[in-house]
Structures are given as C-alpha cells and as structure tokens.
Point group: C2
Chain length 286, copies 2
Amino acid sequence: MNAHLPPPPRRPSSDFVNGTTRLFGIVGHPISQARSPEAITPALQARGLNALLVPIDIAPADLPELFPALLRIGNLDGLVITVPHKAAIMPWLDRAGPRAIAAGAASVLARSADGQWLGELFDGTGCCASIENRGVGIAGSTVQLLGAGGAGSAIAVEMLARAPATLRIHDPDTDRLETLTARLEKLNAPVKIEAGFGPADILVNASPVGMQAPDDCPVPASYLKPDLVVMDCVIEPDPTRLLRLAREAGSLTIGGWEMFDSQIDAVCDFFTHVNEGKIGDVIFPG
Amino acid sequence: MNAHLPPPPRRPSSDFVNGTTRLFGIVGHPISQARSPEAITPALQARGLNALLVPIDIAPADLPELFPALLRIGNLDGLVITVPHKAAIMPWLDRAGPRAIAAGAASVLARSADGQWLGELFDGTGCCASIENRGVGIAGSTVQLLGAGGAGSAIAVEMLARAPATLRIHDPDTDRLETLTARLEKLNAPVKIEAGFGPADILVNASPVGMQAPDDCPVPASYLKPDLVVMDCVIEPDPTRLLRLAREAGSLTIGGWEMFDSQIDAVCDFFTHVNEGKIGDVIFPG
C-alpha cells in the first residue's frame, strides 16, 4: 500500500492572458525599441478588452512569406507597423485609408468584422495632434518641416488637412524631397508648398538628426526664438539637443513622446471600430 | 499669440510587456479553451524572464503555410502545440525528442541557441508525474489505460519508462489500439503489454469520455474500489463523473488539472534549456 499524498496547491494564473485573449502586435525589425507593446496594451485593457499587443520581429527578407501568413492567425485582430516595413506591407491590405494612400505607407492595420485587413497611417495624425494639444494652431501658420522620409511624408500629408498658409520642407536628399512636394501638389490643398529652409511659426523635425548622434541638432541655434514652436519626432534621447536648445531660447517645445502618446487613443479607436465593423465612410470614403 | 498648454500627463506603461519581451505561444484550433497562456506565463515570469505565452489560433487548412512562417519570427522562442496539430507539426521540427519520435507527435517546441527548432512530447510526463506526486508508485503495478489516441499514446510510451508489470490498453477503435500496441512492443520495454480491460492498480482515463457529456463515465461504477488509483486526463468538468464515483468508492483520485500543472515546470525547463543551448544528450540522445 502506498502512502498517498494530498494534491499539490494550484498554480498561479495570469490575470492578463488566457486562451480567449485577442492578439495585437507590432511588426518591425529590430523590435526591441518599440514602445507600442507597453503603451497600447494598457489602453486596450482600459477599454475592457482581453487583449495584448506583443512585439513581432520580422526581418525584411522574411516579410513576403511571413506577413501574409501572420494575417491569417484566427485571433489576431490588429497590427502596428514600424520601421522598415510601413511601405512594404501595402500590397497585403484589402483596403487603405486616405492618409495611407497619399503617403504610400501604413502604420496601423485592423481586421474588419468581415475578415478584411484595413490599413491607415497615423504618424501625421499624432504629430499634428501633439501640436494642437499644446494650444498651438496650425491653420494660417508657416510650418518648416525637416525630413521627407516616411515620417516626414506622413506629417506633410496630415499638415495639408490643417491648412497652414505655408508648408516648407527641407531634406538633403533632393530626389525624395521633389517626389514628396510633387505628390503634395497633386492633393490640391489650399496651402503654399515650398522646398527649402527659412523662418517659420512651427518647426517640426521629422529627420533622424539627434537620434543616433545625440549631440547633433538639425538647425543652427540662432534659428530658435521665443515665438517659435519646436516639435521633435525623435523620442530618444528625451529631450533631444534640438529641444534643449529650443527651451533655452524660450521656444515652446513638444517631444516625440507627446506625438507617440497622442496617437494611442486614435489607434485604439481604429482597432476597435474596424474590428466591430463600425468603420465609417469618413475614414474609408468611396 | 497662442495660449500654450502644458504637456499632457504620461500614459501608463504595461509592467508585463514591452519591446524586448520574448514570445511563446500555444498553437491549436480552437484555442479559447487553452490553459497554457494563463498557467505558463506566470511560471516563465517567476524565472525572471520578460516573456509571455499567448494563444495562437491556426485552422488546420492554414497550418502548412502558417506554421513554418511562425517559426521564423525573430523573438519567438517556444511553442506549445495542442489539438489538432500535435502530429501534423512533426515535419517542421529540426530535431525530435525520444517521446515525440515514439508517439509521432510533439506538444512543446523550443528554439535552440543555434536557431534549430526542437520538439518533445510532455503529455505522458505530466500524467505519470501527477500520479507519482501523489505518492503512488508505477513500477511493478498493473496499469489500465483507456484510450489509444494522442494522449493515450503519449501516456503509454511514458508508462513503459516507469516499468509497470502490466500495461493494459482499451480503445473501442481496434485499429488504432493495434497500431499503438504494435508500436509499444517495438520499444522492447520489460513490460507486459495487453489490449483489453480488466482489474488494475492504476486506472488512467485518456479517452474523451466525460468531457463532452459530463454524465458519462468510461467504466462501470462496480470497477471502482478503495485500493484503485484513478487518474482522469479530462480537465473540465472538474471533477468528472469518473472522479466523483471513484471518490465515493474510496479510490485515490487524481484530476486532469494535476496532470496539466505537473508539466509546467518541465515545459519551462525545456524552453529555457533549449533556448540557452543547455539541452543535453539525456533529452536528445544520439
């Protein structure tokens, strides 16, 4: 006869993940720097959803095989797309929003109630919202944008909808600068579009200057004045050298984290509205 | 001049997921019933890992395209495999453990330090451990196993390593019963292997009886005696009718949750040992 033992104590259960958890992800390469998992997960859970947003590291060479496969996971409801995949994933969208079409890139994808994948670009929305959230009006102003790459293109497209008097764009890569200004002209917005660098009411740095080399600043210190509003899309370091110099010059400064944070509710709205089939013609006209 | 506003308060950050989180998953269809996410995630985190185990719902028709793609996600370190994919995923393993080879199925996969995917079958380990954890010796005993399917096969293979005197197996599907007993005979264990149903020291229900129809019991009530040990692999309902009747008859009863819980440490060991390249020839001989 064996000496029987009592059952072991029950193991602890997670209170944030189980078999019914809906999955969201951020796809990029590398992915360790991504802030969406820690920032968007609490925002989804605050809406009462049993959901997580997890990092998904996909190398560029693997994207053509992995990305369409990923979209068929049954409990995957949405994706954030980051560097370097924002333009590359466009062919797999069933439907793209107007900002994504204008910029040729998407930053957020959601699965609709009927199984379609819809994508839109929120980078510009976040930048403009972070400026407006600080009481700064864009309409009628002169905006100096630095950088005509992915972030710069998205911001330029969104800026047009806010009707500044002038949108002036600088980029040392004159080819992509011309491509962007030509594309913007086609949108027929009532905004003067210029290539170049000069005086402005609002300066937006959408170039990577200040990210890799934290002592670099994309404009001369003499450019920074008390009546200038300075927005830097670079998140790390916080503050960047640009923002430190701007603060010393008396400018209102807006950091990359404000741009990032101001997108969170819009991204969560997009996820939940698309998932629930509530996406309207306002976001997807035609 | 605008009336400028202060920066918004920082948004809350998750304390359990960020860009550096390592991903684990459970692949099955359906997936909502899976207990691994809520049970294995705390166990991984208790080891100091920044890791999550998330549900991944893959329909059988999608498995050939999705599964190999999934294995190439850069920050995916391990997978639990559940119904109906345990046998189907075998072709994508770079290396299979002895239990997986013997049963033709794997329940846990881990990525090794050199990028290979290793798989092993833990269902039998969990069943035998849950019996032994209650002070019941398997060596020299007569074991009556019900069910020659996926779970039954895994348990039969593991039982042989514990050297009962007799392993008797019952299954109404005589074809798969014969397939299993023939496969077990080839392992040349010093155990008498029988097909059929009769008196025993330990009864293990690895059939689905009692799961879908909770009033069903896989054996007559008269079979249940005080000196019988009764283990039921069915997790829900808890207890099953078999375990309720066995308890009334004075048997020692062991529930499916004990089998599940007793695998958790072994599964986490497998994940971390394989990930860190510490998997030895004990688990993967030859």
